[in-house]
């Protein structure tokens, strides 16, 4: 997948002018967020349920290497082939060679964030293997060549007129319509034919259960079930942090995931696979490959703060409540993951150089942390990134910032210096005043005023007035 995190500011400005997306953002995320609260209430003790899911995710990440080995052992015992890929290129090459060996020219896919990460679709297409995303939203996003707008509704912002054009051109739709249901049925018809013919089905993995070697997928549409039923070969791609200790843990996470994701108490379908089909079965995959893709995770695992990012279960609750996401939508985050989840994950996986706008575009309000069922402290991670970035930059750039903060630091620590400098600065500041406000200043200060005003300092400071009134009182007595 193309990485465009470096253009966050430009793309955010563009998206803020998109009236359609803005209307949508003002309606849907608050609606899902409200539903979430309601359905969390179906737990006898919602706070305990949240605490338990956080504990399970923390434990799963802490025990990750052991759990992975246990999962692998049990999956292999059930007949699955488990492959390990260091990075995106290796993972894609594995899928390609599986496809080539079986003379496959077309594959169907269930939504998989890790395959967005590795750019699997592009890799397949380059080799002449046609990939079809089969989740409706993902199918639209793929055909439009866009990244996911929202993790749960990847194309939920796309106007129906645009979907209509797209389906007329690329999904064999016969008659124009702007009815979302008719559009959905057109896609059903088109993709059904792909399901029937596909020899290779690719899915992601929501959870991999260590003590049974089973993989679990959660969905509403049925496309993942088709991918696990119709093709003769199934490839399921996962990142290492998907592993959880037991089925019981997985079931609790399942309850919490669905509630946080779409405000459902459970999704329409959950499917659990342990190995390929049994010999007596007439459908289902004859072979099951599970590809575990590291793609940088074992490295960031060494930083205790970054390791926390691996707890994420991709529920999307933090997106729905984030005030920044609510203004700009998913595109500016520039990669597979958006919203607070993306602000945590994209820098962790891509490095800080091209992603600094992501962790700086945050008011640290903490709503994401409050809602997160995985127990991620997003603001603390952003501060960690910011600190790392400052350390990294000190040697190369930010001269003005360093000087100014040096001066400010000294002044703030010495009251005499502070008073002296402030006395100097006040008349200077007053020069830029206009109607009691300073709206712009030149030089190194220009940036600060880009989004803020400063009130013009009063003619006399509070301290001056205080001293004066004291001396007056003294004089009167």
């Amino acid at each position: 997948m193309k990485i465009d995190t470096g253009n966050f500011v430009r793309n955010a400005k563009l998206e803020m002018q998109n009236q359609y997306a803005r209307t949508f953002l003002s309606l849907l995320p608050p609606y899902i967020a409200a539903r979430r609260v309601k359905v969390m209430g179906s737990f006898p003790d919602p706070a305990a349920a949240q605490e338990l899911s956080r504990a399970i995710r923390a434990e799963a990440v802490a025990r990750m290497p052991d759990l992975l080995e246990e999962f692998e052992k049990n999956a292999v015992a059930a007949g699955a082939r488990v492959l390990w890929a260091r990075n995106a290129a290796e993972a894609n090459e594995m899928v390609l060679s599986i496809a080539r060996e079986r003379n496959v020219t077309m594959v169907t896919k269930g939504k998989s964030m890790i395959s967005e990460e590795t750019g699997l679709n592009d890799a397949l297409a380059r080799e002449g293997i046609e990939p079809f995303e089969t989740d409706l939203g993902e199918f639209i996003a793929q055909q439009l060549g866009r990244p996911p707008f929202h993790i749960v509704g990847p194309a939920i912002n796309v106007p129906v007129e645009e979907v209509c054009d797209l389906f007329m051109k690329k999904a064999g739709m016969q008659e124009e319509t702007t009815d979302p249901v008719e559009l959905g049925y057109a896609a059903r018809l088109f993709l059904r034919d792909k399901f029937r013919r596909a020899r290779l089905g690719i899915t992601g993995v929501n959870m991999a259960v260590a003590d049974t070697g089973a993989i679990i997928n959660v969905e509403n549409e049925g496309n993942i079930r088709f991918n696990k039923s119709s093709p003769r070969t199934q490839v399921s791609v996962m990142s290492p942090e998907k592993v959880v200790p037991t089925t019981t843990d997985a079931l609790h996470l399942l309850r919490v995931l669905c509630r946080n994701c779409t405000g459902q108490s459970i999704s329409a379908y959950v499917s659990i696979d342990r190995g390929p089909r049994e010999p007596a079965e007439i459908d289902g995959p004859e072979e099951l490959f599970i590809i575990i893709v590291d793609n940088g995770r074992s490295r960031l695992y060494h930083d205790p703060k970054l390791r926390e990012a691996l707890r994420c279960i991709r529920c999307g609750a933090c997106l729905n409540l984030c005030p920044v996401y609510a203004k700009i939508g998913g595109y500016p985050y520039g990669w597979a993951y958006s919203g607070p989840m993306g602000q945590v994950l994209n820098p962790a996986l891509l490095g800080l150089e091209e992603t600094s706008d992501l962790f700086n575009a945050c008011t640290l309000c903490g709503t994401c942390r409050e809602v997160c069922p995985a127990g991620i402290d997003h603001p603390a991670i952003f501060l960690h990134y910011r600190a790392l970035e400052v350390k990294r930059k000190r040697r190369s750039s930010g001269r003005w910032e360093t000087i100014l903060f040096g001066v400010w630091g000294t002044a703030a620590a010495h009251s005499a210096v502070w008073r002296f400098l402030y006395r100097l600065a006040r008349p200077v500041l007053a020069v830029f005043g206009n109607n009691g406000k300073i709206e712009a200043m030149p030089g190194p200060f220009a940036g600060w005023f880009g989004a803020r005003d400063l009130p013009v300092p009063a003619r006399r400071t509070f301290r001056d007035q205080w001293r004066e009134s004291l001396s007056k009182q003294g004089g009167a007595s």
Binding site: P44, D45, A48, L52, A55, A58, E59, M64, P65, L68, G79, W84, R86, L136, I140, G153, P154, A155, I156, V158, P180, V181, L183, G184, R188, R192, F195, V209, T212, A214, N220, E221, G222, R225, F226, S229, L251, H252, T262, S265, I266, A268, Y269, V270, S271, I272, D273, R274, R277, E278, A280, E281, I282, D283, G284, D294, R299, Y301, H302, P304
Partner: protein, 224 residues
């Protein structure tokens, strides 16, 4: 020899500093556990109905077949594919079909996988299957797939009718899944599905509708 990706990844993970495993809170008992059979039935029905599923309660084999006749008439069914688990086998649907003018097939009637696939995708009006459990918690069917429970029969046709014994109605997912994945359990199936109502989506303009890829309608007959 160059280290394999597996060894490299695992070694790097193991070299990282260990972190504490937090204590787990005690969860209160799920409310469903306290329900009696009527309570469970009511809960199952309420939950599944909310997802646009339909639940019938049948006392015996005759009543089950009556419901099927009613459904076949209302939905103008002419071609049904059925699973071959004990519950469905006990109904002798082929004989029923003959009386009703409905053709009833099983996966075993097709000479190979291709012709079965074609039939279940394109030549079947409804899939009729058993289910291993019905879970009251969310109106969910638990289906362990296998030779007698093909995957596509409950998925590809536009209507799915499931017949489940009332003795298989349990409070929570754990009650059902521990049978398959627990210590004393059966051999876990290669493929197990939890099905709650019809297939659905809300991916275009957040407009929700049923029947995206899988069935548009789900009917459950609770029997016994």
């Amino acid at each position: 020899m160059k280290e394999s990706a597996r060894e490299e990844i695992l070694a790097r993970l193991r070299q990282a500093p260990k972190m504490e495993i937090p204590a787990r809170p005690v969860m209160p008992t799920p409310r469903e556990v306290l329900l009696d059979r009527d309570g469970l039935t009511a809960r199952f029905t309420e939950e599944l109905t909310r997802e646009s599923g339909v639940v019938y309660r049948a006392a015996d084999r005759e009543e089950i077949l009556d419901y099927l006749t009613e459904i076949a008439r209302a939905e103008s069914l002419t071609r049904i594919m059925m699973s071959t688990d004990d519950m469905i086998r006990s109904l002798d649907l082929p004989a029923w079909g003959e009386r009703q003018g409905v053709s009833v097939s099983t996966a075993a009637d097709y000479p190979d996988r291709e012709s079965y696939t074609r039939a279940v995708f394109d030549e079947t009006d409804a899939g009729v299957t058993g289910a291993d459990f019905a879970v009251a918690e969310t109106g969910t069917l638990v289906i362990a797939h296998g030779g007698n429970q093909p995957r596509l029969v409950s998925l590809a046709p536009v209507l799915h009718v499931a017949v489940v014994g009332i003795d298989r109605l349990v409070p929570t997912y754990e009650d059902a899944l521990s049978v398959f994945y627990g210590d004393a359990g059966l051999i876990p199936p290669a493929h197990l599905t939890l099905v709650t109502g019809p297939s659905m989506t809300a991916d275009i303009r957040a407009t929700a509708f049923k029947g995206m890829h899988g069935p548009r309608r789900v009917i459950v007959i609770l029997a016994g």
